[in-house]
């Protein structure tokens, strides 16, 4: 087969679906049907191979699989299935994975129909000019109503549903139809096989044995072992040591050519050497223009991570280093806190990214850690003329030394069905957002553009947005520089002692509200002591909120006869264990959960 013909037999596609509509099951079936693995060899849900993903129901790490399918027309096709995550923190990664495809299977649940995430990701795919192929899944359910769903798809998204596959991924019904539809409807990849080598990096990760593995989609030309390549964003050069594809295990080949999807390794030690969205070309006679859409990823959200036990410091540091190796967006550096001792200031893409890292530290590395309130980087213009960057609120200089403060602003694009515009506007109003404009995409869909301070977005804006719009709205935001703002430091004192780990920077207007929420939340989680424990939130010397945890007056077992003794001991044991997860702040025991509890502000 000549090089040119090869592209004809390739199909690059992704699967888009709402959570639980069957994406992973369909992927498993496709793998089964194409004969790469027998049914017995298949583990459940081959693509989602991290425990965390299973629980949260979202794919965190991207995976690509190359399937070989013998179609009804007698030809063998190479189907590259590229998996994608679906959270706003990772929109950039999703968009780069989609950029590697020509089409996307859109799974719609035969009983539930089109739902929020379906729409959000559908629009992402349309924005990338992908061919969308709807598939209706779960037709085995008694509540399945495929004809109604077909109409829904036509109305809401505007896709033709004539002859689309109606399947049950669970039972393996009509899977062949999907494969045939992919071959027929998804365009073959374009690209010039004789042009200089150009490939899109849509993912990279660090492997202990092979170094960094770079997931690539070859756009033009070809690459083979020994080629000297260049990363166009950084200009760094490497020599290719291996190329191949995923089946799903790694299988090395001689070369990767135009239209193909696979991996390459080139003795890279750090994922930052292979940045998502970057273009790879050859050193000699390379391409002159990089591919569109590359963005430098920046940390937007910061927090402190401290070992619960001081002696674990080194273990925490080692774990953070290991996580960083495979996470280009995660950064950290050492810092200290009066309340918590020695720890680290860590930077993330967003709140979800933060939570994932936190869970991985606790689960994979089995560490007991305390996380402080997440915040953003503020700029402080001091009276002496110098400008400083503030990541840790405790480092705020005294008020007299501050000329003014600036906070990072983002431009937020909120996409939503028109029904929810009212709720969205209410929500944004409470977040100091400034309305810029609104555009209609179709009759039923709008995009609202707001300028919002980043620190209003990072806490729970996304969750509140989803809950107010029944999950239909989607959010995208970009840093748009700094703006001067009346900001203050909100401190928390427990039993009259300042607990620096709770300090946050807030807008003057929000101080009372936040202070009250924190004080109330702490009152709920701090246990009763032998003495009354006052909790105060203050700005400077002014107390803006106050709560008291009453002193313990009664903690006694009235009856203690034969049967009560074992039960009593168990209870005392449990209480004792509970105390272990406490942090001593002066003479007050504060549960570790308290540090995180104050972050979850309920949107009422």
């Amino acid at each position: 087969m000549s090089k040119e013909n090869k592209q004809k037999w390739i199909r690059n596609f992704s699967i888009i679906a709402h959570i639980d509509h069957g994406k992973s099951t369909l992927a498993d079936r496709l793998i089964e049907k194409t004969g790469l693995l027998t049914q017995r060899e298949m583990k459940e849900q081959v693509l989602d191979n991290m425990d965390l993903e299973r629980e949260r129901g979202i794919t965190i790490k991207l995976q690509t699989i190359r399937l070989v399918y013998k179609a009804k027309d007698g030809n063998e096709y190479i189907l590259n299935l590229i998996d994608t995550p679906g959270h706003v923190d990772f929109t950039y990664e999703v968009s780069r994975s989609l950029a590697a495809c020509e089409g996307a299977i859109l799974i719609v649940d035969a009983a539930q129909g089109i739902e929020a995430q379906t729409l959000a990701n559908t629009y992402l795919a349309l924005d990338q000019n992908l061919e969308l192929m709807p598939v209706i899944n779960k037709i085995d359910l008694p509540s399945a109503r495929p004809d109604e769903i077909k109409l829904e798809i036509e109305d809401v998204i505007g896709l033709d549903t004539e002859g689309i596959p109606l399947i049950s991924a669970k039972n393996g019904t009509n899977i062949e139809d999907v494969l045939e539809a992919v071959v027929e409807n998804i365009p073959e990849p374009t690209g010039d096989v004789d042009a200089p080598f150009k490939a899109l990096i849509f993912d990279s990760y660090y492997d202990t044995y092979r170094g960094v593995i770079v997931d690539v989609r070859v756009v033009d030309g070809s690459v083979k072992v020994g080629d000297k390549i260049k990363m166009m964003a950084s200009g760094r050069e490497f020599e290719v040591t291996e190329v191949g594809f995923f089946a799903p295990g790694m299988v090395s080949t001689k070369e990767l050519s135009t239209g193909e999807v696979g991996y390459l390794t080139a003795s890279m030690k750090d994922v930052r050497d292979a940045k998502v969205g970057d273009t790879i070309t050859t050193v000699k006679n390379g391409a002159t223009e990089p591919l569109d859409g590359y963005k430098e990823v920046n940390s937007m959200v910061y927090c402190g991570i401290y070992p619960a036990e001081g002696e674990d410091y080194n273990n925490v540091r080692d774990a953070l280093e290991k996580l960083q190796v495979n996470d280009a967006a995660f950064i950290f550096e050492p810092e200290t806190s009066v309340a918590l001792g020695f720890g680290f200031r860590c930077g993330f893409l967003g709140l979800l990214h933060l939570e994932i890292i936190q869970e991985r530290l606790e689960r994979e590395f089995d560490l007991d850690i305390i996380t402080t309130a997440p915040g953003v980087i503020y700029k402080i213009m001091k009276t002496d003329g110098t400008m400083m960057e503030l990541q840790n609120p405790s480092n705020l200089p005294p008020v007299q030394e501050i000329e003014y403060m600036e906070e990072p602003m983002v431009e937020a694009s909120i996409m939503s069905p028109t029904d929810y515009v009212g709720q969205i506007m209410d929500l944004c109003q409470n977040k100091r957002a400034v309305f810029k404009n609104m555009e209609y995409m179709e009759e039923t869909r709008v995009i609202l553009h707001y300028e919002i301070p980043l620190n209003e977005v990072i806490y729970d804006f996304f969750d509140a947005l989803k809950s107010k719009t029944k999950g239909y709205a989607s959010l995208d935001y970009e840093l748009k520089g700094y703006k001067q703002s009346k900001l203050v430091k909100l401190d928390v004192l427990i039993n009259k002692e300042l607990v620096d780990a709770f300090s946050i920077i807030v807008h003057e207007e929000k101080a009372y509200e936040r202070g009250r929420m924190i004080a109330e939340r702490l009152k709920e989680v701090i246990p009763r002591h032998m003495f009354a424990v006052p909790i105060q939130a203050s700005v400077g010397t002014k107390v803006v909120a106050r709560e008291t945890v009453r002193a313990l007056r009664k903690d006694v077992l009235a009856k203690c006869y034969g049967g009560d003794i074992s039960r009593k001991k168990k209870l005392l044991q449990k209480q004792k264990e509970g105390k272990k997860r406490m942090r001593q702040v002066g003479s007050v025991n504060v549960p570790q959960e308290a540090f995180l509890a104050v972050l979850k502000f309920d949107e009422k």
Partner: protein, 378 residues
């Protein structure tokens, strides 16, 4: 080593709203089966071990509900199977509405010499609110009968911290009892146990309980009032006129051995804690199959460290407190420095105080005794 015996009688007329004990009003027709099993359990135990019996306690449920002949058969079996030359005390629990002269006479003849009446409160309104099936008048009648049969060792149970109860109500309860020439009063704070009707009512917000401060006042004032009438506190919830402390219950707090026979009964024997099934059919079924009526996997062996902790925790429940010499005799060594340090901290916190013999809880220490025991737990 002298061992005490507990017998459980799991039958009641109806379940009180706060009760989470093993009692089944609906199974009263299975009495005969139950007592056959109970006797067999005793016989089977004897085959493995003889006991030198110190005290016997017949509790429930409502032991006075069943035909006294059943009680007699059980006691007879015990006397047949074990060494019972020197039993110091045999107690039985009774409900005021099931007390008859005939039963009292029969109980006395069996050797029962301590009678416990579950009154809870002298206020009929409160009695109804918590689901008791008797009235204060019926209680008075029971006491009259007991006295007329020359019973000299009577205990009455009182519960305070009832819904809508005030401190004055509690004092009235004590004052009324003081007039009746009874020897022992158990004075309990009502504790809502999950799954009981009163607990559920409280969840729904249908009940108004005294707040924490009022509840503690009831307890503190109760202690004083009881003392006024000669009832000396000897344990957190137990008060007695001189020399009328309940010997059987002290066995629990002195960590001395006891065997429990019957449904759900607990034992502490040869450093093991274990209990019988609390499922009616399972209990009877296992004995019928000549098996021990308990889950062997759940037997808890109390190691040395645990024994020390239990000794401290349980002895401190008593006003006599921790006797250092007795501790040293029991464990063959001095109290560890670690514990002494904790005791000092507790003394600083005014929860513990020194006595001539060792240590005891202060009143505040009693109020916060769980905190004290948690601290002692290493």
């Amino acid at each position: 080593m002298k061992t005490s015996i507990y017998i459980h009688i799991p039958f009641c007329t109806s379940k009180c709203k706060y009760c989470d004990f093993a009692s089944f009003p609906s199974k009263i027709d299975k009495q005969f089966e139950y007592f056959e099993a109970l006797k067999k359990e005793i016989i089977n135990f004897k085959k493995k071990k003889n006991l030198d019996v110190y005290t016997i306690y017949i509790g429930g449920g409502t032991p006075s509900l069943v035909n006294p002949k059943y009680i007699e058969e059980v006691l007879t079996q015990i006397k047949k199977s074990f060494s019972c030359d020197n039993i110091k005390e045999i107690s039985i629990e009774m409900n005021p509405n099931t007390v008859t002269r005939d039963k009292i006479q029969k109980y006395k003849k069996m050797g029962i010499n301590r009678f416990s009446l579950g009154l809870q409160t002298t206020n009929d309104k409160f009695l109804k609110k918590i689901g008791r099936v008797h009235t204060y008048a019926e209680f008075l009648e029971s006491v009259r009968l007991l006295k007329s049969e020359k019973v000299y060792n009577i205990n009455v149970d009182l519960i305070y911290n009832l819904p809508n109860q005030k401190k004055e109500d509690v004092l009235v309860d004590i004052q009324r009892l003081a007039k009746l020439d009874i020897q022992h009063i158990s004075f309990y704070s009502l504790t809502l146990m999950e799954g009981t009707p009163l607990y559920e009512e409280n969840l729904k917000g249908e009940l108004q309980f005294p707040d924490e401060d009022e509840e503690r006042e009831m307890y503190h004032c109760g202690i004083e009032e009881l003392a006024k009438f000669g009832y000396n506190q000897y344990e957190i919830s137990n008060f007695a006129k001189e020399n009328f402390e309940c010997l059987h219950n002290m066995v629990y707090w002195e960590t001395k051995p006891y065997i429990g026979f019957g449904l759900g009964a607990y034992s502490y024997f040869e450093n093991n804690r274990f209990n019988n099934y609390d499922d009616f059919e399972k209990y009877i079924g296992s004995i019928q199959n000549d098996k021990v009526p308990c889950d062997i996997l759940k037997i808890e062996t109390i190691d040395y460290k645990e024994q020390v902790f239990e000794y401290l925790m349980l002895n401190l429940r008593m006003n006599s407190g921790l006797n250092v010499k007795k501790y040293e005799e029991r464990f063959n060594e001095k109290i560890s420095a670690g514990y002494l340090e904790i005791f000092d901290e507790l003394i600083n916190e005014k929860l513990l105080c020194k006595t001539n013999e060792g240590y005891k809880l202060t009143l505040k220490g009693i109020d916060l005794s769980n905190y004290v025991f948690e601290k002692i737990m290493l």
